[in-house]
């Protein structure tokens, strides 16, 4: 029997149990693995993570995961980057220096600019996610979610994409609008945490499973 294989990439940063729980909620047993082969063989890959950009890339490199993740992306396997995991899919991160990312999505990870009303950085809490003007979320992982659905964010750095067509969602914080989600083929990234975003977040996980 061919069983669908979802690999949650464990590269040494962050808490992966809640993500595994979210897949389990839909009856899917996701493997948490740091083995490049597990990533190569996976039908779908989730790249989670919390922490600094440099530590994240180092975590991928020392486990030999860079080529495995890139390879899965080249084959357009469903992939979901979350928070730092999504940031690592970009070309470069500017957190505590300049660090090369996986370069699967063209763009840089930059710090929030100064915000209105001295809004606090990091952003910790719930915020809305909207489609771009004239954009439809049909047949994406945001399918059937309401425009401006609320999601849970914890971050100081944001995606700064080179190509507008890669953008999937926008969020406004402290008067500043930033790209909070991207999509390129089957490769997705969310700055927020779907696994912590209540029913809306679970819907995203479900939509992602349906891509497989």
């Amino acid at each position: 029997m061919n069983k669908t294989k979802i690999t949650i990439v464990d590269y040494g940063v962050g808490n992966l149990s809640s993500l595994k729980k979210a897949f389990k909620f839909f009856g899917m047993e996701a493997d948490i693995s740091e083995d490049p082969q597990s990533v190569e063989r996976a039908d779908a890959v989730v790249l989670p993570g919390v922490g600094s950009y440099e530590a994240g890339m180092r975590g991928l490199k020392v486990r030999g995961l860079v080529d495995a993740v890139r390879g899965a992306a080249e084959k357009n396997r469903p992939m979901l980057g979350i928070c730092l995991g999504a940031q690592l899919l970009l070309s470069q991160g500017l957190e505590f220096g300049v660090f090369n990312g996986l370069d699967i999505i063209s763009g840089k990870v930059v710090r929030f600019p100064d915000l209105e009303n001295n809004e606090k950085i990091p952003q910790i809490g719930w915020n809305g996610v909207c489609p771009l003007k004239d954009q439809t979320w049909q047949k994406t992982i945001f399918d059937s979610l309401s425009e401006n659905f609320n999601a849970y964010f914890v971050h100081s750095y944001i995606f700064n994409l080179d190509n507008k067509e890669d953008m999937l969602g926008l969020t406004k914080y402290g008067g500043y609008e930033f790209c909070s989600a991207f999509k390129k083929g089957n490769i997705y990234g969310c700055q927020f945490h779907p696994e912590k975003s209540g029913p809306a977040g679970l819907k995203i996980i479900k939509n992602f499973i349906d891509l497989i």
């Binding site: 149990s17 809640s18 729980k21 909620f25 919390v50 600094s52 952003q123 719930w126 975003s197």
Partner: protein, 252 residues
């Protein structure tokens, strides 16, 4: 404007959620798993889970219980009670916590906050301060579930905690806790006037107005409450609706 978070708090003793009055556990409220699920379904923005005797008894919180409580909870969970090593934090995270709240051990050894923030990121470390008013403008920080005085000025301790790398502050007023007379606005105001991280306030919620006041006048980023939700005097959707009518952004 950003969303203000509403956070029900579960005070755990043994296998039960208990109702604390002046931080002394008095009544068994119910099963933590059921309560957590009820609050999640009602739209809690986060859940606070505190083992209120772990520090006092010098033991760890019950990680197995935590795991079962958080099993089908898909909002962030902050966990506290007896956290005193990096290993404890790892265990809590693996058992379903997203952040840990540290009070007693941080007072005994402040550098633990830095060590924990370095290991897990500041966003994971909530400095919990339980403050008891001593005189006008002076609050003392207490430990061990509000039982032991530390001699530390709560305001100065908050400043120090931020320098050490705490990503959020949870401020409990021991005087107001369980009274339903409203949050300690003087204390909260004093702290929110200088901090650069989100402030969660706890202790004293009695009615919807107490939520509105501590947000508008106190500057709270997140409001935690226990009894008013446990005994259904207020509901989470009801509080959110009231806040929204009064111009406060909340997730609905």
């Amino acid at each position: 404007m950003k969303n203000i978070r509403i956070m029900p708090r579960l005070d755990i003793k043994g296998p039960n959620v208990v109702k604390p009055v002046h931080t002394e556990a008095l009544h068994v409220v119910g099963d933590p798993k059921e309560l957590a699920q009820r609050y999640y379904q009602q739209g809690a923005d986060e859940i606070i889970y505190m083992d209120i005797v772990a520090s006092l008894y010098g033991r760890n919180l019950d990680f197995d219980l935590l795991r079962s409580v958080t099993e089908n909870i898909f909002v962030p969970v902050t966990v506290g009670g007896g956290i005193r090593t990096i290993h404890d934090i790892n265990n809590a995270l693996r058992a379903g916590a997203d952040k840990v709240a540290i009070n007693t051990y941080a007072i005994h050894r402040p550098e633990f906050i830095s060590e924990a923030a370095k290991e897990f990121g500041s966003q994971c470390i909530v400095l919990s301060i339980e403050a008891k008013k001593q005189s006008d403008g002076f609050w003392e920080a207490y430990t061990d579930g509000g039982r032991e005085s530390s001699g530390l000025d709560a305001i100065e301790w908050a400043k120090r905690g931020l320098e050490l790398g705490a990503g959020e502050l949870m401020i409990t007023s021991i005087d107001q806790d369980g009274t339903g007379r409203g949050y300690d606005l003087d204390l909260i105001k004093k702290i929110t006037s200088f901090v650069s991280v989100p402030v969660i306030v706890y202790g004293g919620a009695g009615n919807q107005e107490s939520f509105l006041k501590v947000i508008n006048d106190g500057g709270a980023d997140a409001v935690a409450a226990a009894s008013v939700f446990h005994y259904r005097n207020l509901s989470i959707p009801g509080v959110k609706k009231f806040l929204k009518i009064n111009g406060i952004n909340v997730r609905t």
